[in-house]
């Protein structure tokens, strides 16, 4: 299992569009990918779950990947968060 932490910079947090992009990105990997924020957590491959977490600007999130391609998944998602959120 691999993970990284990230503080959301986007002004309106993980809103519909980045949530959609995140689901797309996470869907590229076999590993189970989980997004955690405070006490809440969600499957990064499920758009409603992600949007339902209502992650806001300045929230710290942890992204976890568990599976065969977890290294690649973490690298790609880290890049994704930095570029989009």
């Amino acid at each position: 299992m691999k993970n990284f932490k990230y503080v959301i910079k986007d002004e309106i947090g993980i809103h519909a569009r980045p949530a959609g992009l995140l689901v797309k990105e996470a869907g590229k990997f076999q590993s189970a990918i989980t997004l955690k924020s405070g006490a809440k957590s969600g499957d990064a491959k499920r758009i409603f779950g992600i949007m339902g977490m209502a992650v806001k600007q300045n929230d710290e999130v942890t992204v976890e990947a568990d599976g065969a391609d977890e290294d690649e998944a973490i690298a790609a998602l880290k890049k994704f968060f930095e570029e989009n959120l």
């Binding site: 809103h15 689901v23 758009i47 409603f48």
Partner: protein, 543 residues
């Protein structure tokens, strides 16, 4: 006559009969099914069909209103595929042995409730998306019509609020405008109405009654008013205003995609001035070939504290991306004089126009300046950004700016943050001093942009706010025109280009003179772009 007031999301006027949007409310019946597998298959095939519909809606919206607005249909596709959503539907079918319609309805209610309960206005608004997606499934399952209204006459659409798929499916040629009971300036209806360029007034509330269906109405988007069964006087006033607005639109139609070129083949760039990242839509709609002045002050004026680098980066990046490779000239902070911001804690000045403002603040409070420059150099990767510095009076200032730019780049490099190495930089010519030394300044920068408002005020020593000075004021004063000519000659002698971004740039009685001076660019308010283009295309410099 009944007058209603709401919030306008697009400035235009239209008049016509009201058509209350008729929705086929799908009544969901619950019934028992024996073969749950077959029922799940029915749901799966409806889902596939829905995805296909959304894909074609996405493509239609992409062509009509652009990627950013079309993205919602891509998100709807993802919602339709969402595992939580689908599992919930399948579970209900399996566990309760019920029909797919019922399972979709219950699931939709649950997910809608989840969004509606969130303490975030944006997310609450997403409940509409869940509803929209679910309605689509239900329509497919019940073989209901697709919701496309066949309109025979041009009408003003009235509704509580429209969901995105409803707005985009409307036959645009038949829609004069929108009047909505609910909705916010950020609702999809508002966004789409703006990109379609039709008047829309939202938030009219319960006063907008269904019984108005078929009645004659005037929608005044300039004032956010709706006149139902207007009297003759109102009608005449509005008719006149609508005509003016229409003439402008016709102008727009004729000149869109036309080059900014004179009869003898002299080219000039006509750009637009903007004061907020949200103005880009208007720039593109009016077919400007770039942004000649992006006033970055809004970032500071709208904030209660210094805007962060990320905030600024996001705003610049968005504009650069939306302009898709067209030039975007961003002017650095021009606070001071008449633009006051509390958190800057600036002292009261006897003579603010000649005071501590613009580049003078930036060169003494370098952290503020550096934050902005970092954001600009980073955003420059995403489009064709140029940077312009205001209120320059000396070569030393330009050199000081260059030192700071070099520091900023070095810091970004060390932090491993990507940025664009070579960004075009220029200065505003708005002080008589900068004109007099424009030969030297031209050696130091890539371009000039003349700020005629300040240049006129400083050259004539006339405060434009002072009514008493009106008889002494001459917008076309020779001194100012000679200054512009001088700066132009000096720019060209060094092979640099020069533009005008002040009010005079849009003065079509001067366009010919500017062209003769060899002015390379005119940056005007978006609504003036096509009028200036029209003038340019009439001029023959050989005559």
């Amino acid at each position: 006559m009944i007058v209603l007031e709401g919030k306008s999301v697009f400035n235009d006027i239209c008049m016509g009969n009201i058509s209350f949007y008729k929705r086929k409310e799908s009544v969901i019946k619950r019934y028992k099914v024996e073969d749950t597998d077959a029922e799940i298959k029915r749901f799966e095939s409806a889902k596939e069909k829905g995805k296909k519909q959304l894909q074609s809606l996405y493509e239609k919206a992409l062509a009509d209103v652009g990627e950013a607005n079309a993205a919602i249909f891509e998100i709807h596709q993802m919602m339709l595929e969402d595992l939580d959503y689908c599992e919930s539907i399948i579970n209900i079918i399996n566990s309760q042995q019920v029909n797919a319609e019922y399972a979709v309805g219950v699931t939709a209610d649950n997910f809608t409730a989840m969004f509606a309960a969130m303490d975030d206005a944006y997310m609450q608004g997403r409940a509409a998306d869940v509803k929209d997606v679910s309605e689509r499934l239900l329509k497919i399952l019940t073989n209901a019509e697709d919701g496309i209204q066949i309109l025979n006459d041009k009408v003003v659409i009235a509704a509580d609020d429209l969901v995105p798929s409803e707005t985009v499916q409307l036959d645009k040629d038949k829609v004069l405008g929108f009047i909505m009971q609910n909705g916010s300036a950020n609702s999809h209806t508002a966004i789409l109405a703006r990109s379609m360029g039709i008047p829309a007034i939202i938030g009219l509330g319960e006063d907008l009654k269904k019984e108005f269906d078929g009645k004659y109405v005037i929608v005044d988007g300039f004032h956010g008013k709706v006149y139902i069964e207007p009297d003759e006087e109102t009608l005449a006033v509005m008719e006149k205003r609508r005509k003016e607005s229409l003439e402008r639109k016709e102008l727009l139609q004729q000149l869109k995609d036309k080059e900014d070129i004179t009869l003898d083949g002299t080219k000039i760039n006509i750009y637009a001035n903007i004061g907020n990242s949200s103005d880009v839509g208007n720039v593109l709609k009016n077919d400007a070939n770039g942004i000649g002045l992006f006033r970055s002050e809004f970032l500071y004026l709208e904030n209660s504290d210094y805007p962060t680098e990320e905030q600024q980066f996001a705003a610049y990046k968005t504009v650069a991306e939306n302009m898709a490779g067209k030039k975007v000239i961003i002017r650095t902070l021009d606070i001071g004089a008449d633009k006051k911001v509390d958190y800057f804690k600036l002292d009261k000045e006897e003579n603010p126009a000649l005071g501590y403002r613009a580049i003078r603040i930036c060169l003494t409070r370098k952290e503020i300046f550096k934050t902005q420059l970092r954001a600009l150099y980073r955003a420059a990767i995403f489009g064709n950004i140029s940077i312009m510095f205001p209120m320059i009076i000396s070569v030393e200032e330009v050199k000081a700016i260059k030192v700071i730019i070099a520091q900023v780049k070095e810091e970004l490099k060390q932090e491993g943050i990507p940025f664009k190495e070579n960004v075009e930089t220029g200065i505003m010519i708005e002080t008589p001093a900068s004109v007099m030394i424009s030969d030297e300044l031209a050696k130091e920068v890539d371009f000039f942009s003349v700020g005629t408002n300040d240049l006129t005020q400083y050259t004539l020593a006339i405060d434009r706010q002072n009514q008493k000075l009106e008889p002494f004021y001459n917008a076309h004063h020779k001194a100012v025109l000679k200054m512009i000519k001088m700066a132009a000659d000096n720019a060209h002698a060094e092979g640099k280009w020069i533009g005008i971004c002040g009010e005079l740039g849009a003065d079509i009685t001067l366009t010919e003179e500017f062209l003769k001076m060899g002015i390379d660019e005119l940056s005007v308010s978006a609504s003036m772009v096509l009028e200036v283009r029209k003038r340019v295309r009439e001029i023959d410099l050989t005559k």
